[in-house]
């Protein structure tokens, strides 16, 4: 039971915090507090504003307005050092441990103890100091263990021990169990209970609602950057949390297809990816339809797309494109077969940011602009001009580097690269991430036009509004396997989310 009563001074309080980016409000008027020995569950869909909120607490970004109160001190913004000094510690989803060092060295990284007189590392002292911390998190490894030898769960414990070493009063755990097994998760739950007993507050962020049910004293739900509800200990149920997380009016984005779905373009049978080797995925894409793929972060959507495209190894199963087996060990083979991928991270994998816009558009199909094997600047230019007109790419000069374009126009350049070739099927991975509203609707129109032209269209998206508003059919992935397939009449945010988190 929480030790706090509403009258007690909270350890940490946020008052009316807002954060605006040009064109987007990430957080608006968010207030929350945590007390000594309390576990606060924080839930919300992808993009609800949880990570922005946590970055503000960590001092990584500053809020546009609002105040942060820690004990009796008030701040308009925190710096990373101020956040640490105030006793706020993070246990991240992606582990921040250095596996080339030992446990004690990780715990004291950046705050190494030194020994007189030479100021060399006091390895013995650090190990001695690490031992009680490891005891508090129930670790069964010693401070001199090399981190390479630790399992993921043990590394997670190491992160918590590190948090305790800075005398943390508030420990923020962001999806701490995403890489843990069931028994490891249970150990973590026990550690959280111990932390509570020591009077430490825990903010627990997770998509796994059953874990929140198990450990939280109070739940706060975020949606579209706002606090949409709070649940007390006895109100915390799976359904109550899902109800809070969704419930927004979906804008009418949907345009129905011109014709009913036709022949099968792509079929996946028992496909196994390296990300989820125990799972099998069976998916069929028909011509004329837009197939949405939904799922939580880490559900294996991108990994599945990259496996089909030949970036990642296919561990098992059968992929057929228009009836013919597709065996792509490299993207080049998938592209030759007419299957294209618009990748999620356009800056890293979609574009050559420092190359010209027209060069980017022609990159995947250079032989077509190279009569007699010599690349023709004029043909590149002509091809790029055609695409600029068709996709309304807003660029003053196609010979300027792609980095100078806005997010929406960069994405159009990536699309132009594939559309100027003859696709049978295109997989769009988060096609509208970092894209402004105007360009978004243009991209949706384009997806529909492609589907109507008989191209297979697969859209992976974490944006619920987009998945429901654009798709004709939705496949929900969970832990690498198909958790369910929804047809348009059965679309609901609740339905998708239930499948994605795994209703129980």
């Amino acid at each position: 039971m929480p030790l706090s009563t509403p009258s007690a001074l909270p350890l940490l309080a946020l008052q009316s915090i807002s954060k605006a980016y040009p064109g987007v409000v990430a957080l608006s008027d968010v207030s929350m507090s945590v007390h000594r020995g309390e576990v606060l569950g924080l839930v919300g869909e992808n993009g609800a504003g949880k990570s922005t909120l946590m970055k503000i607490l960590g001092g990584v970004i500053e809020p546009t307005s609002g105040r942060i109160v820690i004990g009796h001190a008030e701040f308009a913004r925190l710096s990373v050092t101020a956040s640490q000094a105030a006793g706020i510690a993070f246990v991240h989803q992606e582990l921040n441990v250095f596996d080339n060092l030992d446990v004690a060295a990780n715990i004291f990284l950046g705050r190494e103890k030194r020994s007189a007189p030479l100021g060399l590392l006091d390895r013995q002292g650090m190990r001695e100091a690490a031992r009680p911390l490891l005891g508090r998190v129930g670790a069964r490894f010693g401070p001199d263990t090399p981190v390479v030898e630790l399992s993921l769960a043990e590394r997670q414990l190491l992160e918590i021990a590190k948090a305790l070493s800075i005398d943390a009063r508030v420990v923020i755990m962001d999806e701490p169990t995403s890489s843990l097994t069931l028994t490891e998760t249970q150990t973590l739950m026990q550690v959280i209970a111990d932390l509570k007993a020591q009077g430490i507050a825990v903010i627990y962020i997770s998509h796994r609602l059953s874990e929140i049910e198990a450990c939280a004293d109070r739940v706060l739900a975020l949606r579209d950057g706002k606090v949409v509800g709070e649940l007390a200990r006895n109100e915390i149920t799976h359904d109550a949390m899902i109800r809070l997380m969704i419930g927004r009016d979906l804008k009418a984005l949907y345009t129905p297809p011109a014709a009913p779905p036709g022949k099968i373009i792509l079929s996946l049978t028992a496909v196994v990816t390296a990300a989820w080797p125990q799972a099998r995925a069976d998916i069929v894409v028909r011509s004329g339809e837009i197939l949405g793929i939904a799922g939580l972060m880490g559900a294996g959507r991108t990994e599945l797309a990259e496996t089909i495209f030949g970036i990642r190894p296919l561990l098992g199963g059968d992929i057929r494109l228009s009836g013919k087996p597709l065996r792509a060990d490299t993207p080049a083979q998938a592209i030759d077969a007419g299957l294209y991928l618009v990748p999620e991270d356009r800056k890293r994998t979609g574009l050559l940011l420092e190359a010209a816009i027209d060069e980017n558009i022609a990159l995947a199909d250079l032989p077509a602009v190279a009569p007699h094997g010599l690349v023709s600047r004029r043909d590149i230019r002509k091809r790029a001009e055609t695409q600029r007109r068709e996709l309304a790419i807003k660029a003053a000069d196609l010979t300027r580097v792609a980095a100078e374009l806005s997010g929406g126009n960069q994405q159009k350049v990536v699309l132009a690269k594939w559309l100027s070739m003859r696709p049978s099927l295109i997989i769009f991975d988060e096609p509208t991430r970092g894209v402004d509203v105007g360009a978004k609707s243009e991209i949706y129109r384009l997806l529909r036009a492609l589907a109507d032209a008989g191209v297979g269209v697969v859209m992976i998206s974490s944006d619920m509004e987009e998945v429901i508003g654009v798709s004709d059919r939705i496949v929900v992935l969970r832990e690498g396997a198909v958790a369910g397939i929804l047809d348009r009449p059965a679309f609901s945010e609740q339905g998708v989310l239930r499948l994605a988190v795994g209703a129980n």
Partner: protein
């Protein structure tokens, strides 16, 4: 010709003018002919190094390769009596295999280019010394190969044929790098290997071919050097030539991160380095200071170039801050133009 190349050409002319004013022998036909010969010899393999650097890699084995292949070529022609055209083909074939080995170790077995070619540097040098048992490989006394000699050390109109060979190779490589599909793929792989792979470019193949080109041009250079020196001393022949080629490429505007550079640039780099060498000789500077002069010039040149780029990037960022039509500013992603392209 790009702006960068123009800058380098102007520098070459200025240095040349200064040397000429101090010592008019600089423009004498003999000096020009000798310098042109050296430019041809060094240019041949520096161009090859350019292809490798374009991918973001490096080939440290060039000097040892020139020694080993030189020893083998001289031995085949001089001692074993292999007809020289056949010996040329065998030498180039061995070079191809070496480049293929480098490329496959790097792309298939994911080894680092520095490590692979450093081992090449040690192995080829060792094999060259072991093969001749430290003896100098040379042609028999009085032996003569008129056709081969005409092709390698002959002159037409006073211009050494090594220079013609370099110009011919340079022209072919210019077309390959700047006009062919493969050349574009090289640039793409050097700029962003991941994005190139996602665009369907066979990145492993492209990188391997770059090492093969480098090794083949080094093999051709090895034959020219062997004919020029007439004898190959396996422990010193070709020492440091790889660093010479890297220096020429960097001077010529190549980035060791990959994705930047031009054939004209690397050739101008070779010209400038040879000019500096010539400067040391003609101006009576102790030849022991040779490397120091080259090092200082490379450092100054690259520094000036980067400062100029930073200045341009800053100006571009300032321009980008000026108000633009609303269609372009309504973006939720942060602007990229503010960041300087030259990361540490």
């Amino acid at each position: 010709m790009q702006k960068k190349d123009m800058g380098l050409a102007v520098l070459i002319v200025i240095v040349g003018a200064v040397v000429y004013l101090r010592n008019p022998l600089f423009l004498s036909p003999i000096n020009l002919g000798n310098t042109a010969n050296l430019i041809g010899l060094f240019g041949l393999f520096a161009i090859g190094q350019g292809f490798v650097i374009m991918t973001g890699g490096i080939d440290l084995s060039v000097g040892s390769m020139i020694a080993l292949l030189g020893v083998l070529f001289v031995d085949m022609v001089g001692r074993l009596g292999v007809p020289w055209p056949l010996a040329v083909l065998i030498t180039i074939a061995i070079g191809t295999l070496m480049g293929l080995a480098h490329g496959l170790l790097i792309t298939r077995l994911k080894m680092q280019p520095f490590v692979v070619t450093l081992c090449g540097l040690l192995i080829y040098r060792g094999v060259a010394r072991g093969y001749t048992a430290e003896a100098t490989a040379g042609f028999p006394f009085g032996a003569s190969y008129p056709d081969l000699e005409w092709l390698t050390i002959g002159r037409s109109f006073g211009v050494p044929h090594s220079f013609f060979a370099m110009v011919l190779v340079g022209a072919i490589c210019w077309v390959v790098l700047h006009r062919s599909v493969f050349g574009r793929h090289l640039y793409a792989v050097g700029k962003n290997e991941e994005a190139a792979r996602y665009s369907g470019i066979r990145t492993g193949l492209v990188i391997t071919l770059a090492y093969v080109i480098c090794a083949v041009l080094s093999a051709i250079a090895a034959i020219y050097f062997a004919m020029f020196t007439r004898s190959v001393q396996p422990s010193s022949h070709g020492n440091f030539y790889e660093l010479y080629a890297i220096a020429a490429a960097v001077l010529g505007g190549f980035s060791l991160r990959g994705g930047e550079g031009s054939i004209i640039g690397v050739i101008l780099g070779v010209v400038l380095l040879q000019e500096l060498q010539n400067l040391v000789n003609l101006l009576g500077i102790p030849s022991s200071l040779n490397f120091a002069v080259m090092g200082a010039v490379i450092l100054a040149g690259v520094l000036a170039d980067q400062q100029f780029n930073r200045y341009r990037a800053a100006r571009r960022a300032l321009r980008a801050m000026e108000p633009r039509p609303p269609a372009d500013t309504a973006t939720s992603s942060p602007p990229i133009v503010g960041s300087t392209p030259d990361r540490p």
